[in-house]
């Protein structure tokens, strides 16, 4: 009797599980978050990498589009200033593991307005678990980024 009861419970659990997977696809929620990681820029003088670059991913309410802001980035190693650059109108396609980020061409915001000198092209990236990666061209400068989610505890620190 005990064995029968255990089998029934196990079957019920399997049925419940199947029922859930059939109604809601297994997609992670795409939320606004901050990341910290390395930015690689293929400048005319060669490849250079900046570490500890903060990126803010800001999703819309529907999470079908987003903007990405890169903080304090340089596009040449000898550039005497670093800039905060926001890439708007990124299309977000949700996947089972996170989301795919794409933009063909968009003018970023920097220094208080649109900055066409660094028009973003071929933006491709994804968010998987707690990691964001993307590559793009700032004007003609190929750039890539890989960063990890900044946990709330880290932010407080």
């Amino acid at each position: 009797m005990k064995k029968t009861l255990f089998l029934m419970l196990a079957l019920a659990a399997v049925l419940v599980s199947c029922d859930k997977s059939s109604d809601e696809p297994q997609e992670l929620k795409i939320e606004s978050a901050d990341y910290c990681g390395d930015l690689s820029v293929e400048a005319s003088s060669g490849l250079f990498t900046m570490d500890s670059i903060k990126v803010a991913f800001n999703a819309t309410d529907k999470a079908d589009s987003a903007s990405v802001t890169l903080f304090q980035v340089k596009f040449a190693p000898r550039m005497p200033v670093s800039l905060d650059v926001t890439i708007p109108e990124i299309t977000v396609t949700r996947t089972e593991k996170g989301g795919i980020l794409t933009v063909d061409s968009v003018v970023p915001f920097a220094m208080g307005g649109k900055y066409p000198n660094y028009t973003v092209k071929d933006f491709e990236g994804e968010i998987v678990d707690n990691e964001i990666t993307f590559s793009l061209k700032f004007g003609s400068t190929p750039t890539s980024y890989r960063g990890l989610l900044i946990e709330e505890d880290d932010k407080e620190q």
Binding site: M79, V81, L83, M111, G113
Partner: protein, 737 residues
């Protein structure tokens, strides 16, 4: 050092000569009393172991000395360059002094301390005379008396004093009127002065330094009982003036004054003081208190050019209260004469000091500086405002409390003095600053963005000082005395308010960049509010001196060595900074000699006041350069005042003819010693006809038209000088009714 040795030798020789010349070596305990009512010392000035200079009001009047600044050089070592406006009475004494904030000389009017340096320069009338105690007087007088104390004694209704009227007119349409009289328990004095000014602003085509000022004093004094005297003194000064006659120094040429913005100063200063003196059987008690008000408003073109670069307004409303209680032994001939006192004061100063950057200033000082950091291919910053105000409001309170004691032992030929003061001072500054602008980053931004940058906070300081004093005076005979003194003085610390426009300027630029999302590798750096507090300056003084009085001949000489710690000096931050700040520059030492001689037999009169001072940094590195060993700026190596005169009797009339020389220098204008002023002499003269109680005179100052530079500063990398007054001729009449 060689000169110091010569000076020492000279002083010793004077002493020996004086002792040899003495005709009567019988000691006289009761030396002639000079009016010392305005001094705290228990003994007559002859027995004070410090350099003492006393000048009667009659002498001051004849010399045309009608305000404290005019005493410069007349008292050996005292240098108060005449520049700017009435608020800029910067005092240099014995290598001490700085352009801003706390003075190195205490000023007392009938024993009431003048708390605010901005009220130091005023026209006087109805004085008995002035007395200067040289060297640190911190034990008795406390803060800001490390170079000396200037004490003014005014006419009293308890003394005989003829009503006097004075009228004077001369160069630059200068008119001066004064009146003083006593009636019953009251003494009144008032003086008015007008001048059109001496220096033309060629850009505005008008004189830049006109002056109108009125001073008034009412003194009520009465013996309220057989043993008690009550005094009330109300003094008010009201003035409205131009000023800041600064010309550009370029290619070794001093250009005329030429600037476009307002330069003016208005001031109302009121001091209400009271004193109660009671002489009991055992003790004398003195209570002195005051309430002081200062309201002033200064406008300054800070670039001093015809361009609209930037201006400063500094408006203050300051109130202060002082109270002092002293207890001393009633028997003035007792062997031991102790004096113990308590002093306290509180001052609250509300100050508004907005700096307004105008169009040229926004372009040259702000945008050029900011855009030099930004690569051209990225863009450039633009500010559309024609005026960019940087408002700075301060509320500064300062308090001080002190307990002091001095014991004087009169032992036959010796007068020994030991004293100590425990002085605790503190202050707090609340600052509330705001910069506001409309900016645009070209070509990216299509519209202006408004940005407000607030900067608020509080800084405070506390300092405790122990100020001891030891002195010994030996009376060789009735005419000669020698003394030695070891004393300490201090100048209070404070807050740099002038540097806040610089701080705000840098904070604003950083805020603009942050707002834009542009991060400079090299930030706009300046000091912060936390760096604006500076510490007290302290000085130890070792002094040897002698006095000699023989008939109409009087001589006094002293040599001193002062060691100064935490010397307060004005520093201009490097680069295109617009502000200036006080800093404790390190250590310095001053050695010097001061001497006064006068010989006044019958109708002939002569005097010489001369000082020599070698003041050098022991250690001072401002971060850019090491100035150790260099002379301290603004401190003259020599001051000289000499004069001769003769009174001719013409029947019932007297003809007075006097001639004088007055000079100071050489001195450095900056720490590096790259700008120097040579020793310059000015010639003065006076001819007066005295008919009974009426005197008619003509007086000339700087008769040779010596061109002297009286002040130097840098603004936005440019050098400026103020010139000394040109030749002036005054004619006047004095009635004694």
């Amino acid at each position: 050092m060689k000169t110091f040795a010569v000076a020492m030798t000279a002083m010793v020789l004077i002493s020996i000569l004086a002792a040899t010349m003495a005709l009567d070596d019988t000691l006289t305990q009761n030396l002639p009393m000079i009016n010392v009512t305005a001094l705290k010392e228990q003994v007559p000035t002859e027995r004070i172991a410090s350099a003492v200079s006393s000048i009667s009001f009659e002498t001051l009047r004849k010399n045309g000395t009608y305000r404290p600044n005019s005493l410069s050089r007349t008292i050996p070592g005292l240098h108060i360059p005449d520049y700017g406006a009435s608020m800029t009475s910067t005092v240099y004494l014995r290598g001490l002094g700085s352009r801003m904030d706390n003075p190195v000389m205490g000023l007392y009017i009938d024993g009431i301390p003048v708390i605010d340096k901005n009220a130091y320069d005023f026209d006087w009338e109805g004085l008995n005379g002035v007395t200067m105690l040289g060297g640190p007087q911190g034990t008795m007088y406390g803060r800001n008396s490390m170079g000396g104390v200037l004490s003014l004694s005014t006419i009293s209704p308890l003394e005989d004093s003829k009503p006097t009227v004075r009228l004077e007119y001369g160069t630059a349409n200068t008119f001066r009127a004064g009146i003083s009289f006593t009636t019953g328990s009251h003494a009144f004095s008032a003086t008015f002065r007008h001048t059109d000014g001496f220096f033309m602003n060629v850009y505005k085509n008008r004189l830049t330094d006109p002056y109108d000022g009125l001073s008034f004093r009412w003194k009520w004094e009465r013996h309220v009982t057989e043993r008690a005297t009550l005094t009330n003194i109300l003094q008010a000064n009201l003035s409205k003036e131009g000023g800041f006659a600064y010309g550009l120094w370029q290619d070794s040429v001093l250009h005329p004054v030429s600037y476009n913005d307002e330069g003016s100063y208005r001031r109302l200063s009121v001091i209400e003081g009271f004193k109660l003196h009671r002489c009991g059987d055992e003790f004398k008690t003195d209570v002195a208190g005051s309430l002081q008000l200062l309201s002033d408003d200064m406008h300054m073109d800070q670039d001093y050019t015809p361009k609209s670069v930037f201006t400063l307004q500094q408006k203050q409303l300051s109130g202060a209260g002082t109270l002092e209680f002293t207890l001393r032994r009633a028997d003035a001939y007792a062997l031991w004469q102790p004096q113990t006192g308590l002093f306290a004061f509180y001052r609250l100063n509300s100050m508004s000091a907005p700096v307004t950057f105008k169009r040229d200033g926004i372009e040259t000082l702000i945008l050029n500086n900011a855009n030099s950091h930004i690569p051209e291919d990225i863009g450039y910053l633009a500010i559309s405002d024609t005026r960019m105000p940087v408002n700075s409001d301060f509320l500064i309170d300062t308090w001080n409390t002190a307990l002091f004691h001095e014991s004087v032992f009169d032992l036959d030929r010796w007068t020994l003095t030991a004293g100590i003061r425990l002085d605790y001072e503190g202050g707090t500054m609340d600052y509330d600053c705001m910069a506001r602008l409309h900016y645009r980053f070209e070509p990216v931004m299509t519209a202006d963005r408004e940005l407000s940058v607030p900067y608020k906070g509080t800084v405070s300081h506390r300092h405790f000082e122990v100020i001891p004093k030891l002195s010994a005076l030996f009376r060789v005979n009735s005419e000669t005395a020698l003394y030695a003194t070891l004393s300490k003085g201090y100048r209070a610390g404070g807050f740099n308010t002038q540097i806040f426009s610089d701080i705000l300027q840098n904070i604003t630029m950083n805020a603009v960049m942050k707002d834009l999302g542009v991060h400079l590798d090299r930030k706009f750096v300046s000091v912060t509010a936390g760096n604006t507090e500076y510490d007290p300056e302290t000085a130890w003084n070792m002094e040897l001196g002698t006095r000699f009085n023989h008939g109409p001949f009087r001589a006094q000489a002293s040599v001193y060595c002062m060691n100064v710690s935490g010397q307060q000096l004005t520093v201009f931050p490097p680069g295109m900074s617009t502000g200036r700040m006080m800093t404790n520059a390190g250590r310095s030492r001053s050695i010097g000699l001061e001497t006064v001689m006068s010989w006044n037999p019958e109708r002939f009169r002569s005097h010489v006041s001369w000082s020599w001072c070698d003041a050098r940094f022991i250690s001072y590195n401002d971060g850019n350069a090491d100035y150790s060993g260099n002379r301290l700026p603004y401190v003259p190596e020599h001051t000289l005042d000499a004069g001769i005169g003769y009174s001719f009797r013409l029947g019932s009339r007297t003809l007075d003819i006097d001639a004088g020389l007055n000079g100071a220098g050489p001195y450095s204008w900056n720490e590096a010693g790259t700008q120097k002023e040579p020793f310059r002499l000015k010639v003065s003269g006076r001819i007066a006809m005295v008919l009974g109680d009426t005197e008619i005179y003509v007086r000339g100052e700087n008769l040779t038209g010596t061109q002297e530079r009286s002040f130097y500063f840098k603004s936005v990398g440019k050098e400026f000088f103020a010139s000394g007054k040109p030749r002036t001729i005054m004619t006047g009449i004095t009635f004694k009714l």
